[in-house]
Symmetry: C2
Subunit: 435 residues, 2 copies
């Protein structure tokens, strides 16, 4: 993709941004907020604020881009007063880019048009802490890939010691369909699921609250423009269909999962809930952070052969705030999306290779992102060897799997030339199982 003027590292905003903020003027991620009495609004994050796109459109700030991109012009302002980004996504990349670049202009330190209009600012600019951030999309499909070689090996060794990596793994990005309607936004608490599992050493299963509740550190991409059933997507065009990225926690009940998953894959061990971060960071904003992925051997079949830099260098942290703890959350893992073996573009092209239709708002998660070092593991399953080697946390606390009241926080950010493009965070606290 061509460089966007909105990515210029020298840009500054008239809004005060600290160097550690996730949302400087070079980022401008999209989300959906609910404002008391106003209903849902599409928004762009800037520092600790949310810019109300509906109010901006109503005040005429988007008139010129509406003329430049007729589909956007026809859809405004209504497209910004929705409960999800979906309708906006269907307008396509020219619309997303036009809005992001226009918002960048409006927020530049040297542009007085919004900066010096106090009345407009009071209408358009809300503190994020005064609004409710909603799940940014209404997905019709959610797919979870399995694209970290390290994760696949770590799990494979535990479940199939003789045969950890199956022969298909290096030939195609393995994936399964998950549950779209149980995906919740960051901050939603997660009720401990109940289910069937077979306690160690027993022949018969029991039913009850999971004893092995885990998180999974993942990133997910959001499909912008979909495809028609029967169509395919060449690898070189795959990124045209990707709007942006979110952090993704694929909560997992390991005991339920391991009892049920053969032969058709994970089901109730996963589908009770997944959590996403509220701000979708665009591929446009991540453009400066492209890197080459790991060497792929054997070389994939032609339709998956990649010569471009289709990976991204995004740092990822996992933090735990144990139940009852009043101290700051504790970093227990540090990974990076560049460790993924398969790129998002390869995932999308493979997915569409059989003609399966993709829809705007679909969520495609990476699978657990584990890196090559012991400090870069993306799940408690891996960190604790399925609970047998608990983490030693301060205060003498030993953590095997998640306990009621524990909070898990995933954070992500890319940094270069003093510019930090943050993903924000996704957090969730474990609630006790139903009575």
């Amino acid at each position: 993709m061509p460089a966007s003027p909105a990515n210029d590292p020298s840009l500054r905003s008239w809004i005060d941004i600290r160097p550690t903020d996730d949302f400087p003027i070079q980022n401008l991620p999209f989300g959906v907020m609910e404002v008391p009495e106003w209903g849902p609004r599409l928004a762009v994050a800037i520092g600790g604020y949310a810019l109300d796109l509906y109010a901006c459109a109503q005040l005429g700030y988007f008139e010129a881009i509406g003329d430049d991109v007729p589909a956007l012009g026809a859809a405004m302002p209504k497209v910004f007063r929705r409960r999800s980004l979906n309708a906006f996504l269907r307008l396509g990349r020219p619309a997303w880019q036009a809005v992001r670049e226009r918002v960048s202009e409006l927020l530049r330190h040297d542009n007085p048009s919004l900066r010096d209009n106090e009345l407009a600012i009071s209408t358009c600019l809300l503190r994020q802490r005064d609004v409710t951030l909603l799940r940014p999309v209404k997905p019709t499909s959610y797919v979870d890939f399995y694209s970290s070689l390290e994760h696949a090996m770590n799990v494979g060794v535990m479940f199939r010691p003789d045969n950890p990596l199956l022969p298909n793994w290096r030939h195609l990005p393995i994936a399964y369909h998950g549950r779209a309607n149980s995906i919740v936004v960051s901050g939603t608490s997660i009720k401990r699921p109940q289910g069937q599992y077979r306690p160690a050493g027993q022949d018969e299963p029991v039913f009850g609250p999971t004893q092995q509740l885990d998180f999974e550190l993942e990133m997910a991409f959001i499909v912008g423009q979909g495809t028609a059933q029967g169509n395919t997507v060449p690898l070189a065009q795959a990124e045209d269909h990707i709007f942006g990225l979110v952090l993704f926690n694929d909560w997992s009940a390991r005991d339920i999962q391991s009892w049920e998953y053969q032969p058709l894959g994970p089901f109730l061990g996963k589908n009770f809930a997944s959590s996403v971060s509220p701000w979708v960071v665009t591929l446009d904003a991540l453009e400066p952070f492209r890197v080459a992925g790991p060497a792929q051997a054997p070389q994939p079949l032609t339709y998956l052969q990649n010569t471009d830099n289709q990976h991204f260098d995004i740092q990822l942290d996992v933090l735990i705030q144990p139940a009852g703890a009043t101290t700051e959350p504790l970093v227990i893992s540090h990974s990076n999306t560049r460790h993924l073996y398969w790129s998002m573009a390869q995932q999308l092209t493979h997915h569409a290779s059989n003609g399966c239709p993709l829809d705007a708002g679909d969520i495609y998660a990476s699978g657990t992102i584990s890196g090559p070092t012991p400090g870069a593991l993306g799940s408690l399953l891996e960190m604790t060897q399925r609970g047998t080697q608990p983490l030693n946390l301060p205060g003498g606390l030993q953590l095997g799997f998640l306990r009621d009241g524990d909070t898990v926080i995933l954070r992500g950010y890319a940094e270069r030339e003093g510019v930090r493009i943050g993903l924000g965070e996704v957090r969730g606290t474990v609630l006790p199982a139903a009575e």
Copy 2:
């Protein structure tokens, strides 16, 4: 459920119905039709006709039931002018039952109110051949179970001769999430998918059109009222959430499936397309066809223990019309939903047992329904031993897997006391792969 007056076997309609018709007055299944220039309409099938529910509501025929069921009264007539049944389903069983019973009254041979109103008839009653039947629901989730013991054994013997039935199978209804947005209505042609598969005797995969395209004979239930995330559904209340049943063809590319499916289950081998019949036959209409299911041993855990007749006696036929054939389609298999080991109620209760939310319009398919005899197999995979023992069809034709131009037709019906409650049919023709 209590017996409905609409199920009375002695009822007759003023519309002429032949004894072999699937849609007598005791059936009254719901669907969605598109009428040229009128847009989408909810409809009820009667004989070869479709009754336009929107027109009925506008002409005042539903006024009394709108008073009786206030949620229905508030939603009419708009709820009948939708592209899917979803909004109607969310109104709940009292609304579905009120409409079905009122339609039954209107169509009784001795009720003159519609029968003798030629103008109203010309507005409300359309020949099915003059309208386009649409996919009846917009599913947010599609799940495929694996609930036929015979099918699980037949497939298990092929893929895992030492270990055909995994230890979990008799303890819970195994299932996986499939692709909701590639489900199409009967009559839609199916483009042969391409994908990765590993030819027999080779180490390396290739990419190309599937060589092992198959159908699967399934039934699916449609969720009427959903559940909130975190809630569960006791077995005794499971059927309250089920609106009705459709025929379901889960098209499968066996070569793609067997290469990709480990360890996370089927993905591109299945998600290119599934087909549903257009008319949803209500559980209310199927009430007279309840039967006990097979004995379950070992006894399931408490939450899945079933003492009622929660299975249904529905005959199922698979027909093939080979490419180029001008003769009538040929029946190649005959099965019955009563063969299923797990009931729909058990499937739904198990699915909700971890708090996973269910939505109106969700589609839950049974898995391939194979019976205990060689003539009751539900897939070519089973009938031909994965293509090695092709079917001998008239004219010297040998059928291993599906060829371009072949048409597959699934039909279903329940019969008792001279009343036939038909499911109609789901059909699809195979088109060549993309260039």
